[in-house]
Symmetry: C2
Subunit: 205 residues, 2 copies
DNA sequence: AAACTAACCGACCAGCTGGTCGGTTTAAGT
DNA sequence: ACTTAAACCGACCAGCTGGTCGGTTAGTTT
């Protein structure tokens, strides 16, 4: 069983460090050696575990990013009765800077989407599918909100979902350490205004 | 005078084609030869006009992107009495796909900002400064809207500006040919809801 | 303990990239 | 006509990149 353990540990280290370095320096701007040096691993070790750099990245996405999206943006949606409250809370948490040395500002889907857009169709569509999952969950929970009387009946739920996603993605573009605190506050504040405008009664404090 | 003309023409071609190729393939993913081949120019010609690839890109930004931001997003702000109407109209135009063979979807600041973020501090901050110009103009026009009675008095203009910029940037991340028409419509629709929520009276149709 | 093989090593390679440089063409000045 | 220099050419280079491959180490099995 020692064998299997070693394998898992190495894979895990490659995933974790890979995600961090890819996100800070960008996929195309990061060489395998950058990562391997930091892990004290060799080329041989790498190509034993993955068949290419691309394969490696996709593996990271499947194992870490998908997970984060679910944990931060999908699962919290059903934890409150009022969907607008649930969405607000999830976004606030997702924009939270990581604790101390952890990766800052939740997850990094948007940066990767823009990096791969038009440069690598496969990875690009793969990443967009993740957004799609978020979207359908948003729409679903918004529609429930309609029947439960939290959201005005004339509202276009797909449109609202799109709008929320767009504003969130854009927000993450703007957030880069400096004055992040203030930006986040401003964003959530305005989002509340918006939510009030689509809500049945004024329930979003 | 023939000399000066030639110079200007070559520079102009380098700028135009460079912007297009950099945007479609990404700065780091575009080699100088990609551009030079398309223009039937040599390395020598290039390095006669610019001192580096970076210098080249900055020159493009100064000559073309800054211009586009002003023309599409800043100048239209003062062309209507109600700032919210003016903003809506400018965003609608800025999200318009280019005519036929021209570059699609207005300008491309966001893609470049994400590409250079954390990879090239100088260019990155340069690009963010352009956004800053847009922001201050938005804030200014919003504040006027307050005194003119178009916007509710308790509204935080800086927050509104940030929010508009974020949603616009995010929207452009989502727009990549497929179903662009629908996305754009959804976005503008929800933006109107939001504008109604911060407007003094319900004036945004 | 011998045989097997998962896990890893690291020298090496071909291809591409930004950048250099000595030379050539051609318009402008005298 | 002759000189000067702006504008351009294209062969060349060093450095880096993703990827290969023959070999080594060490856990597992028999």
């Amino acid at each position: 069983m020692e064998r299997n353990l070693k394998r898992r540990e190495t894979m895990h280290r490659l995933h974790a460090v890979g995600l961090e370095v890819f996100h800070t320096k960008g996929y195309y701007n990061t060489s395998l050696d950058d990562i391997l040096t930091e892990l004290s691993l060799s080329k041989g070790a790498f190509y034993y575990h993955f068949k290419s750099k691309e394969d490696y990245f996709i593996s990271i996405v499947q194992n870490l990013i998908v997970q984060k999206v679910y944990a931060l943006l999908v699962e919290p949606l059903n934890e409150q009765e009022n969907p607008l409250h649930a969405i607000l809370d999830s976004l606030e948490k997702a924009l939270e800077p990581g604790k101390s040395n952890e990766m800052a500002y939740g997850f990094m889907l948007n940066d990767f989407i823009t990096e791969f857009n038009k440069r690598n169709a496969e990875i690009s569509s793969y990443l967009k599918d993740i957004l799609k999952v978020w979207e359908v969950n948003l729409v679903s929970v918004l529609k429930n909100g309609k029947t439960d009387g939290h959201i005005a009946r004339h509202i276009d739920c797909e449109g609202v979902a799109t709008y929320i996603i767009a504003s969130y993605l854009g927000m993450r573009s703007l957030l880069s350490e400096t004055n992040g605190r203030q930006l986040k506050y401003q964003y959530l504040q305005q989002l509340k205004h918006y939510f009030n405008s689509i809500s049945e009664r004024q329930t979003v404090a």
